[in-house]
């Protein structure tokens, strides 16, 4: 936790709240507004829909799992439940670094699967109007597509991560197994 400070300058802290938290006149129309969690991966900000996130926890003790899909960094113990943790850096094709004091694990769920997503930091919660969101999938270098929408806030453009695609990227069918042997 000590060596983290130089990597991230202080203005990007999870306690800083930027943007308007539902305070803008447009956002009074509730249905039109979606909330997102801003997260950092290698100095770039991504957004994750708030409805798929359960909670954000501090970096945990990870247990390495041999022969697991390569994005899976290991498993964590979340109050007695064992969850796999996916390293988003690996998945986005960004060189991996040591985790530091800013690193967080976002507990996210999709259908019946709950996973931890390891990110370099959390920025803030942002509320977006639907006209600030553009449906647009983007490929990353390795050809996988984790971003299904893009947010436009003034000049700032951020990718919105799609949890289903992240899970799909692990290459494991996570759907309920119906074929539990005949």
């Amino acid at each position: 936790m000590s060596n983290s400070v130089e990597i991230f300058n202080n203005e990007i802290s999870m306690f800083t709240i930027r943007g308007e938290l539902g305070g803008s006149p447009e956002s009074t129309e509730f249905s039109a507004v979606r909330q997102f969690i801003g997260l950092m991966i290698d100095r770039e900000e991504f957004l994750l829909p708030i409805e798929v996130t359960n909670e954000i926890i501090m970096m945990h003790q990870l247990t390495f799992v041999p022969r697991a899909p390569r994005f899976i960094e290991g498993v964590i113990n979340l109050r007695g439940t064992i969850l796999p943790a996916i390293n988003l850096r690996k998945m986005l094709g960004v060189p991996t670094t040591q985790f530091n004091g800013q690193s967080r694990i976002i507990i996210a769920r999709c259908e019946n699967v709950t996973v931890g997503l390891i990110v370099d930091g959390i920025t803030y919660v942002v509320a977006l109007n639907h006209d600030q969101i553009q449906v647009q999938s983007l490929h990353n270098k390795s050809g996988s597509e984790l971003i299904s929408m893009i947010s436009k806030r003034g000049d700032q453009v951020n990718g919105i991560l799609d949890i289903a695609k992240i899970l799909g990227e692990t290459g494991i069918s996570y759907h309920e197994e119906e074929v539990e042997e005949a």
């Binding site: 022969r67 498993v75 709950t114 996973v115």
Partner: protein, 780 residues
């Protein structure tokens, strides 16, 4: 004569007659009209006795009839007399009927009466009673003539000797009954005759359990629906529902030969049929009678559960139900009396309590035990077990915190207090854990018992003679395991019946007993249950299996397998040796499914056979899956847990003792050659370092002066897992790691340790397969 009837006669003679006498005396002395219900109840009992005796005499015409007839006629007259004081108006009629019935009875004695006639007679008696009931209250207010009462008393004295004659009378009949055998001369024993000896179905415990469970459910449904009906008397759906439940219950009881229940249910069904057809209105009186019937049913069911005979007091309720069905008697009665609607509940509330009191002494011991058990929803229990699992983890965390405190901060004053508390907590936790595990344990016999029927059915359909011997059904196993072991066992037993046991003539030619035997046994060995299925059939020829396996491409032609490995090939997917597909087996899915199911329960399955002499399947299962003792090992800085139930021993060896056979490493442990699996290779741990090379790591291992080997697997064919370090032994709860981590090789799950870190639990069978696979394929 069946046991139920005997028991009934017995209890009637013992109980109701003296009671009746007492009550009549009471009426005589005080003229209390309140006792009506009791008297009616006992009159009902007498009538029941009468009908039973008639039945008995029908069944046993050749002898003993005269004494029975005597008793019946005295009883009959006594009964009639008993009514007399209160039925001045109805007397002539009753006397006539009674005369008739005595005549009829005389005919019975001569063996002239057909069943139909007897029933007609009984029906007549039925008809005779209602006026008695209706007359009785009417006379309550009237004066009871003293001389009449005196006459009654005098006559009461006369029937009593005859009442005491009754048991011998029943006895006479019984002597001639075909299967009345074991020392039932003693009257006391008569009442102890277990009821389910009367019927083949009742001897099958699992069927009986099914019956009891089903009826319990039906009773709950009935209770609930009838309550609904009371709220909403005209709801057709509810009535239909009740009718169906009653019918099902009646059918089931009839099949099992529980005549008491069947009769009550029959009347109840009739009642609801009438309600259904709108011939009868539902009001609180009807509902009361129905509930009375349900209470009686519950008593009867309890008797079945206790294994005692059904109580005999079905009559008043049956009668009440019958009356309610006829509708007119209680109805007219109610109108005739000023008290109105209250008449029915008033006149018949006593029978059930009276009967309950009667049933008590018989099943006292069992009842005491029954009261100390409680049915718990399994889901709740699972939650509890999970919580205890969490507490076990907490305990180890506490323990580790405590030891850290003690070693690192000895200056802290509260230390000793804290240590003490932690130790106490640990001890209590141990106890809780023990108990909670025992709570989930059920005898494996629950799974075994249904096989008797399976084997019987199969042997009939195959024209084979097969005897199933079950041994050790008391061995206890976790409930979920018992539930899940059933299917694989059925598969195996079917296989034994279908493929193993030969036709009787073939067996005779071979000089075997034409009746084949399958032995199903369970026993506890340490932390595991060993289930064995042994048949004395034709067995399996390993050579044939090998040939088949080569044909199907499961193994290479040049594979050099020993007999045992060959035999166990039949557990591979897509292997079936049956020449033709029958409805029992031969679909080629049997054995591999069996193996997978056993593996899922963390068990192992092994097969041995002597061609021509039979086959033995051995299944080893851990006692419980919830909390397991595990050995923590460390390799390359990573900690893993090995479930202790698969660990045979841990040894320390010197690297130079490791020998190489082909590419695989083995170690000669005492007299067996132990194939070794390097955990770091199995887990691909070396890939974490960039300079991965198994040889390099092995070379490094060899440079160590010592290595630890955890010997796992079946004692006959162990495998050694080479690890860097042995840590400690700990209790842990194995948890699934979620759908994403389902298919990690050699890992069966995760567990949380004291410090909150996750440790991976090794899948021993997979590691074993790895070790064997290596030696098998690479030796070839």
């Amino acid at each position: 004569m069946d046991a139920l009837v005997k028991a009934t006669i017995e209890s009637l003679c013992k109980k109701s007659l003296p009671e009746l006498q007492e009550q009549l005396l009471l009426i005589l002395h005080s003229g209390l009209p309140l006792d009506d219900s009791d008297v009616l109840y006992n009159l009902g009992e007498c009538r029941e006795l009468l009908s039973m005796l008639i039945e008995a005499s029908l069944k046993d015409l050749e002898s003993g009839t005269s004494s029975i007839q005597d008793s019946v006629s005295t009883l009959d007259s006594k009964r009639q007399d008993a009514k007399n004081p209160k039925e001045t108006s109805a007397t002539p009629c009753i006397e006539r009927v009674s005369e008739d019935s005595t005549k009829e009875l005389a005919k019975i004695g001569d063996g002239l009466l057909s069943d139909d006639e007897a029933y007609a007679l009984l029906a007549e008696m039925d008809n005779m009673d209602p006026p008695a009931i209706s007359a009785a209250p009417a006379n309550d207010t009237g004066d009871m003539h003293e001389d009449e009462a005196l006459r009654l008393l005098a006559e009461m004295d006369a029937p009593l000797p005859s009442a005491s004659n009754l048991p011998p009378a029943g006895h006479t009949a019984e002597e001639h009954a075909a299967d009345a055998s074991e020392g039932e001369d003693d009257e006391g024993q008569l009442s102890e005759i277990p009821e389910w000896e009367a019927n083949e179905f009742q001897s099958d415990p699992s069927m009986l359990v099914d019956f009891v469970v089903n009826t319990d459910e039906l009773m709950v449904t009935l209770d609930a629906t009838i309550l609904q009906l009371e709220q909403d008397p005209n709801n057709k759906n509810i009535i239909e529902e009740i009718f169906r439940s009653a019918h099902t219950l009646k059918g089931a009881a009839g099949m099992f030969g529980f005549k008491g229940i069947e009769r009550v249910m029959h009347r109840m069904e009739n009642l609801f049929d009438l309600i259904r057809k709108e011939k009868l209105a539902t009001d609180s009186r009807t509902i009361d009678v129905v509930f009375q019937g349900l209470d009686l049913l519950r008593t009867l069911l309890q008797a079945i559960k206790d294994g005692g005979p059904c109580g005999a007091a079905t009559v008043p309720t049956v009668k009440a139900l019958g009356l309610a069905a006829k509708g007119k008697y209680p109805g007219t009665q109610a109108q005739g009396r000023d008290s109105g609607g209250g008449s029915k509940p008033d006149s018949l509330p006593k029978p059930t309590p009276a009967h309950a009191a009667e049933g008590e002494p018989k099943g006292k011991k069992k009842e005491a035990k029954e009261q100390s058990t409680i049915r718990v929803d399994l889901e709740r229990l699972d939650v509890l077990v999970n919580l205890v699992g969490e507490l076990v983890i907490d305990r180890s965390r506490f323990a580790s915190i405590e030891s850290e405190l003690r070693t690192n901060y000895p200056q802290i004053k509260v230390g000793s207090n804290f240590s003490e508390t932690v130790q106490l907590f640990g001890r209590h936790m141990n106890e809780i854990q023990d108990i909670i595990m025992k709570v989930r344990m059920v005898p494996i016999g629950n799974a075994f018992n249904k096989f008797t029927r399976v084997v019987r059915d199969i042997s009939r359909s195959l024209d084979k003679k097969i005897d199933l011997v079950i041994v050790g059904e008391d061995a206890e196993l976790d409930k979920t395991m018992v539930e899940q072991i059933g299917d694989p066992l059925i598969h195996l037993i079917r296989n034994c019946c279908d493929h193993g046991i030969e036709m009787p003539d073939v067996r005779q030619q071979k000089g075997k007993d034409p009746q084949g035997t399958i032995r199903l046994s369970a026993s506890q060995e340490g932390n595991a249950i060993v289930i064995k299925i042994i048949d004395d059939g034709k067995g399996i020829d390993p050579a044939m299996i090998r040939k088949k396996a080569i044909e199907k491409g499961l193994i290479k032609e040049d594979s050099n397998l020993n007999d045992r490995d060959s035999l166990n090939l039949i557990f591979e997917a897509g292997f079936s040796t049956a020449e033709k597909v029958t409805n029992l087996s031969g679909r080629g899915v049997g054995m591999d499914v069996v193996k997978r199911q056993i593996m899922k329960l963390k068990g192992t399955i092994d097969l041995a056979s002597v061609p021509g002499a039979g086959m033995t399947v051995t299944i080893r299962l851990p006692l419980t899956l919830a909390i397991v003792q595990s050995l923590l090992v460390k390799t390359k800085g990573e900690t893993f847990a090995v479930p202790l139930n698969s660990v045979i021993e841990s040894i320390r060896i010197s690297p130079k003792d490791i020998q190489k056979v082909g590419d695989s490493a083995v170690y000669k442990l005492r007299d067996t050659v132990l194939p070794l699996v390097y955990l770091e290779e199995a887990m691909s741990l070396s890939t974490r370092d960039d300079q991965f090379s198994p040889r390099a790591s092995r070379a490094r291992a060899r440079n160590n002066d010592r290595l630890f080997v955890v010997v796992v697997g079946h004692p006959d064919r162990p495998t050694g897992i080479v690890v860097d370090q042995l840590l400690n032994q700990q209790e842990m709860v194995i948890k699934p790691m979620g759908p994403l981590m389902r298919n990690i090789p050699c890992v069966s799950g995760g567990a949380v340790l004291g410090q909150g870190e996750v440790v991976l639990v090794l899948d021993v069978p997979e590691i074993e397969a790895m070790g064997r696979g290596r030696s098998r394929f690479q030796a070839a």
